[in-house]
Structures are given as structure tokens and as C-alpha cells.
Amino acid sequence: MHAAPAGESSGARPRSPAPARSGTQSDRRTERVLGALAAGVLGLIALMTITVFAKAWPSFSHNGLTGWFQSGGDVDQQLREMLTSGTQGGHPTYHLRAWPLLWGTILTTGLAVLIGIVFSTFAAIFIVEFAPAPVRRVIEPIVRLLGGVPSVVYGLIGILAIAPWVNHHLLSESRKSSVEYLVQLAGSNLSTATLILTVMITPIMVAIVSSSLAAVPGPWTEGSAALGVNRWRTIWRISLRTARPAIIAAAVLATARALGEAIMLSMVSGGRGFAANPIDGITFLFEPVRPLAATIVQNSEALSAPSLGRTLYAMAAVLMVSAALLSLAGWAAKQPLKRYGIRA
């Protein structure tokens, strides 16, 4: 379209300029040190992963990956047999059908995170956009405080305050007897666990989301306001869009936290390796579950028992893998946003 530039032939290929000396000694040293540090941490993590998987191997190999994740039989029974297996010189048994535990993990984590994300996104919007200054000034440190409350304390509140209440007010005789032959309903159950878990992970999410909502560039929101788009729509279409990477990050962190939460859940989840069944309608919410992490803690006494120990490591391995996949998923979810200039 325009006349060929003079001597363009010489400019044909990017002649990469003479080997440029980039950065001073100190700078390159810094990069190396930091890089080494990162590698070190990674190494440690890798070592841990390998250890766990090595220990976990027999469990997987005996049941086969498919078998391991299937359902079948009473998982608690299977665990007990492992504990005493090898007694009287018999071979240790590894038979396990872990689906109920997985299902428990999925239920508690999934529900808690779903509720948590919605709730904390709205709460964050409230804190950043609508809350009167004094309220904000009070609530912000308190949210942090909540983030710092140990899970044991939540567990304590759970078993001493919430579980009994649920047991008295929400569980009728009829409901109990309806599933009597399958499982026994008690104050600590799926809904209690989910509730407390949600309360536990919310602060982290609120903190992260609101901080990034607060960082939405003023010109964007103003620009939207200047077009006569009301405050809510502006938040909805501009602020939330900009904050999405943070929301994702928050979700990842929270999910990971929920996956790994053990103590509290072992206190209030009902402690039965039972696959709560949605078909039971409302009752479903009051059926006991026991997520993987809680199972590990509850049986950690038996880590020395050969087969049970290996099995527990296998559960740990599963948790690790899912956490890793989780972070990958989060990363992938952020990619499309980058190209529109939303920095993640």
C-alpha cells in the first residue's frame, strides 16, 4: 500500500543485535537465588509427593484404580479389617472401595465452596461498594480474625452448640427411623459439616475478592456511570469482570482448604463412611458422611498397621492430585481473561 521503504532489504530479517549484556551481576544473582529458592521449595514438595505416592502404591495396585474409586461394601468395615489384617500371620488385606469417602469429600467441599463463593462475592461487594465507612472499618479486621479462627474452635462450637441443636430441632423420630436400617442420623451430619465448613472458608474468599474489587480502576467504573449505567450493573458488568481472576484464585484456595480440612470435619461430619443419598430427599442433608481428610485423621492412630497405613497414604495421594488439578483448572480459567487486559 505504501512505497517500499528504502534499503528495506537490509531490514529484512530481525538481525538480533549483538549479544546484549542484560542486567548487572547483582541482578542476575538475584534472579538465580530466587529461582533456586523456588526450585528448592518445589523440590521439597516433589519429595513429599513422591514419598506419599510410594507409600500409597500397594493400595492402588491391589484394588486397581477403577476398583479403588468404586463403591461396594461398607468402607468402614473394610478399614477395620485392614487394621486387624495380618493378625494370626495372615496376609494383610488391601481391599477397599473408597467411593463413599470420595463422595463425602465431594459433597462437603462442593456444597461449601458453591455457597461460599456466591455468599462471599456478594459480601465482598457489600464491603467495598455499599457498606458505610464505619461498618467497613469494623468488619474488615473482623473478617481477617475469622480467617484466623482455628478449625478446632469451629469444631468445638460445632459439637457443643450446633450439632445438639440440629439433633433436637431438625431430626424427628420418624426421620431417624426412616433410614434406621441403613444409617443412624445424629446431630453431626452433612448439613452441619457443610455449614461450618462454609463459615470457615468464607473469610479467605471475602478477603481476596474484596481486595481486588477495591482495586478496580476508577476510570472504568466512572466511564460506565457516565453512560447512565446504574451502580449495580456497573459492579456486575465491570467490577466483577475485572475481579474475576481474583474470584477464581479465591475459589481455588478455598476449595483446597476445604479438601484439606480434617480436624473440624472429623468432629462434626458424622464419622461414618456412608454415601449420603440424594434420593432420600431432605433426609439426605442429615445423613452422616466422612471425607477423605477426616478419615485420615481419624485413623492416623493406625498408620503403623501395614495395610491401613498404606491405604491412608493412598487417600492423601488422591487429595494431593485433586489439589494439583484444581490449581491447574484455576490457571486455565484465568487465561481467556488475560487477553482483554485483565491482569491475573
Binding site: 486387624t84 494370626q88 500371620g89 457443643l160 445438639p164 436400617y181 472429623s266 464419622g271 481419624q298 492412630e301
Partner: protein, 248 residues
């Protein structure tokens, strides 16, 4: 300086062990002071087997094939296990058959139990598989072949069972002596579940507390164990007798 005498293991034995250790150190300030950690029975067994600690407190009987070889179990005391029900349901007695029927899930309703003040489904509270108390309960009350009904709620500690039973009218469960406050300790085979009866040997539901060493106890460890188990050691006797059953 003398190396520490590291003790680790069962939380159930922990209170006893700490008191013994304190007294022991008072008696022989020169000797290595026992340092009591608390984890779990099997963690303790692991530690002692790997030589990480010198003595492990264990609240369950040895299991062949599970326990590493070459461990020496020394019985130091006995603890009792009580059946407990909600205080709204002060049952006067349970026979072995009744207990087995209830815990295996054959009997599912209180109305089938003579003397119960409540009706409706029985809420069973079990302990998780790895617990020493559960192991003891299994051996003492059920015997090898019976199993606790799978529908039972498994709690992770005496305290949780106590707590659950306290807050559930229809509940029944089992705990060590120390956890009968606020609930109804059910007499077993007509014998009230009390420390006295257990000491006198009438009450059957007792289990053993062990201290485990790798091979025969060595220098510091053996001194401590001798002191604990020697039959003419007033101090130790008194401490044990305060809440447990002395056996020497």
C-alpha cells in the same frame, strides 16, 4: 548431661504417665527426666520400634502381625470401660446378651429393653476402628466374632461419645471410667461400673495400660519401669489407684 528419657503414645495413658513421670522426677532428680508426649497408641509403637522414643504408652493389647517384632509390653495398670446411656434413661442393668444384641443391631428399639425409661430407636455410639477403647470393648463385651452394627455412629474419642450420649436421649455408648460424668453408667451383669468394683475384680469390663520398650528395657527406661511397677512403691501405687486399677 544424661540424655532425655523420651516417652510417647496413647492419649488415654497420657494423664497417668505424666503424673508418674512428675513423681519419678521428684523422687530421683539426678536421673534422666521422662518427657511425656501424647499422640496415639500406634504412633507410639512406631516411635519406639524405630527407636525414636524409649518408651511408648499403649492402651491396647498387643496384636500379633501388626506390631513390629521385638517389642516388650509391660503392663502398668488397668482401666475400666463403662456402658453409658443418657441420664434420661437410667437403665438399672444390662446382661451380656442384651449388650451384644444392642450393639450388633439385633435389638433396635428401647421398648425391647426391660427397664429402659425411653422408647424409640436406639442410637448406637461406637468408637473408630483404631481406638484402644474400641479394641477393648470388642474383646471384653462382644468377643472376637461379633461386630458392632455398621449403622452405628463412630466417634473419635471418649469425650465425643460422652458428649453425644449426654445430648441424645436414645443413645448408648461406651467410655473409660473417667468419662461417666453427666451420663448414666449402666451396671453390667448386675455390677455397677465403679472404680471400686473394678478394683475388687467384680466388674469385668477392664482393659490394660502398657508401657512398651524395644527389647528389654535399657538403662534409664528400665529404671523408670522398675519404679513404676515395683509392688512396694507407695507413690506410684497411690497415683495409679487415684483413677485406675493398680495391678502389682
Amino acid at each position: 548431661a544424661a540424655r532425655a528419657l523420651l516417652v510417647d503414645g496413647s492419649t488415654s495413658v497420657f494423664p497417668l504417665a505424666t503424673q508418674l513421670a512428675a513423681a519419678y522426677h521428684k523422687a530421683f532428680p539426678k536421673l534422666a527426666k521422662p518427657k511425656i508426649g501424647q499422640g496415639q497408641s500406634d504412633a507410639g509403637i512406631n516411635d519406639v520400634a524405630s527407636g525414636r522414643v524409649d518408651i511408648a504408652d499403649v492402651s491396647r493389647d498387643p496384636i500379633q502381625g501388626v506390631d513390629p517384632h521385638g517389642l516388650i509390653f509391660t503392663k502398668i495398670a488397668q482401666d475400666g470401660i463403662c456402658l453409658i446411656t443418657n441420664s434420661a434413661n437410667p437403665i438399672s442393668n444390662l446382661s451380656t446378651q442384651q449388650v451384644q444384641a444392642i450393639f450388633t443391631g439385633q435389638t433396635r428399639d428401647w421398648s425391647d429393653i426391660p427397664g429402659s425409661k425411653v422408647s424409640g430407636p436406639i442410637d448406637l455410639f461406637d468408637r473408630d476402628g483404631a481406638s484402644g477403647t474400641q479394641d477393648a470393648f470388642q474383646n471384653i463385651f462382644l468377643g472376637q466374632d461379633l461386630k458392632v452394627s455398621p449403622s452405628a455412629t463412630a466417634e473419635t474419642s471418649n469425650g465425643l461419645v460422652q458428649n453425644a450420649v449426654r445430648s441424645t436421649p436414645n443413645a448408648i455408648g461406651f467410655v473409660s471410667f473417667a468419662f461417666t460424668e453427666g451420663v448414666n453408667a449402666v451396671p453390667y451383669q448386675g455390677i455397677p461400673c465403679t472404680l471400686r468394683n473394678a478394683k475388687s475384680g467384680q466388674y469385668q469390663g477392664v482393659r490394660n495400660f502398657w508401657m512398651v520398650t524395644k527389647g528389654a528395657p535399657k538403662a534409664a527406661a528400665s529404671k523408670f519401669l522398675k519404679w513404676v511397677t515395683s509392688s512396694h512403691n507407695k507413690v506410684a501405687r497411690r497415683i495409679i489407684a487415684s483413677n485406675w486399677i493398680a495391678i502389682h
